[in-house]
């Protein structure tokens, strides 16, 4: 093993830069960018640690709100926004919209949202043939899986 080290520290090339101090040979821009890098590392690690420690890790709490109802050439489009107020991410969230008239279900449509991270929102839409504005529309999250 010892023969590996023999030439390592000897013939270092004469380098002009070695004669300058760290301050002299480091460009001002390099200092700035390096400090940005340091700040980004400290901020990212700090934020992630803070969030990890303060999070109560509550299960997904999915709240679905209708944002708009549009009349299309054939049928209607109900656009929704799903917000996860829990701390855990929900994947494959199934959203179900139900139209009913006089307590009788007349139309049900479902769609799947890939994932909704904690405190984040996702948007989507459901297509109905009956007019959602003339009937009672209920829209909510039916289930999810852990990512």
């Amino acid at each position: 093993m010892s023969e590996n080290k023999e030439s390592d520290n000897e013939n270092k090339p004469e380098n002009e830069q070695e004669n300058k101090s760290l301050r002299e040979r480091t460009s001002i821009y390099e200092w700035i960018v390096a400090f940005i890098g340091l700040a980004l590392v400290l901020f990212s690690v700090g934020y992630v640690a803070y969030d990890g420690l303060t999070s109560k890790n509550t299960p997904p709490n999915l709240i679905v709100n209708v944002t708009s109802v549009k009349r299309l050439a054939i049928g209607y489009l109900v656009q929704f926004k799903v917000k996860n107020e829990g701390e855990q991410t929900a994947a494959n969230v199934v959203i179900k919209g139900k139209l009913s008239k006089n307590e009788r279900e007349i139309e049900t449509k479902t769609t799947t949202v890939d994932y909704v991270a904690s405190n984040s929102e996702h948007t989507g839409g459901l297509f109905f043939t009956e007019n959602p504005e003339e009937n009672k529309l209920e829209i909510n999250a039916v289930g999810y899986e852990n990512p």
């Binding site: 390592d8 380098n15 890098g37 340091l38 640690a49 990890g52 904690s118 405190n119």
Partner: protein, 287 residues
Amino acid sequence: MTENSSSESAESGTNEHFLRGLARAFAGAVIFAFTIIMTMEMWSLGFSIPPYRLIIYILVSIPLLVGLSRFVGFEDTENLADDIIDAFVGYAVGFISSAALMFLFGLVDFSMSAYEIIGKISIQSVTAAIGAMYAQSELGGAADKNGNKKSDKKKEETNYRGELFLMTIGAIILAMSPAPTEEMYLIAFKMSDIQTILLVIISLLMMHAFVYSVGFKGEEQEQKKWSLWLLFLRFTVVGYAIALLISLYLLWIFGSLDGMSLKEIIKVMIVLGFPAALGAAASRVII
């Protein structure tokens, strides 16, 4: 007066040299990071990864970048302080370029929580930062005044420990993009036990072909003293062990091993160990 102006021009020369290096670094960061930024599994990883793993991943990347700066990097570094500054410059470039690409691709937006945004960007920044450092050796051909490529000079100085470090970086570079994908464990599930053992043998043979042909440090002088078998033990076997450990580390960070049995973990490790071994063995060529 003359002294003053000469030091000023020296300073602006240093600045210009750095800014040119910085532009190259951004190019390297993008080249390295785009494959994983365009990989679906990495998007959800940003928020599904447990906080402690993300912290470990970011913190471990810093000494890696410092080490990488020893061999390649922005400036002709001679001491640890320079290398540390270089490492943080690399991280800044990596973070900024991943953030820019992710916003551009619409993968990150302000409807997301701060944790999701930071997580998604941070997990890509490490790869991008390695690319930023790497660009200095590859795209730059940063030649010193004597016309020697800097990284070549550094390579000459590399000792056995440095050689193993370069292997580590090579393994990370090639294993990083397939590591988070579902394909890794799908392949592992599809492979029989015999195929798995064959893969180990193939990986080792492939590595040894590289080690033997790509002139590792002191190979010529050592060939007389060290037989082919000792070369195999010193570089190939140790290199493969490094490749497997890197593979295990990346799979663990990316959560691909969660809920798997020990046998499955070993199989997936060997599957990802294949590109990792390639990277480790080819580190001489690619770094």
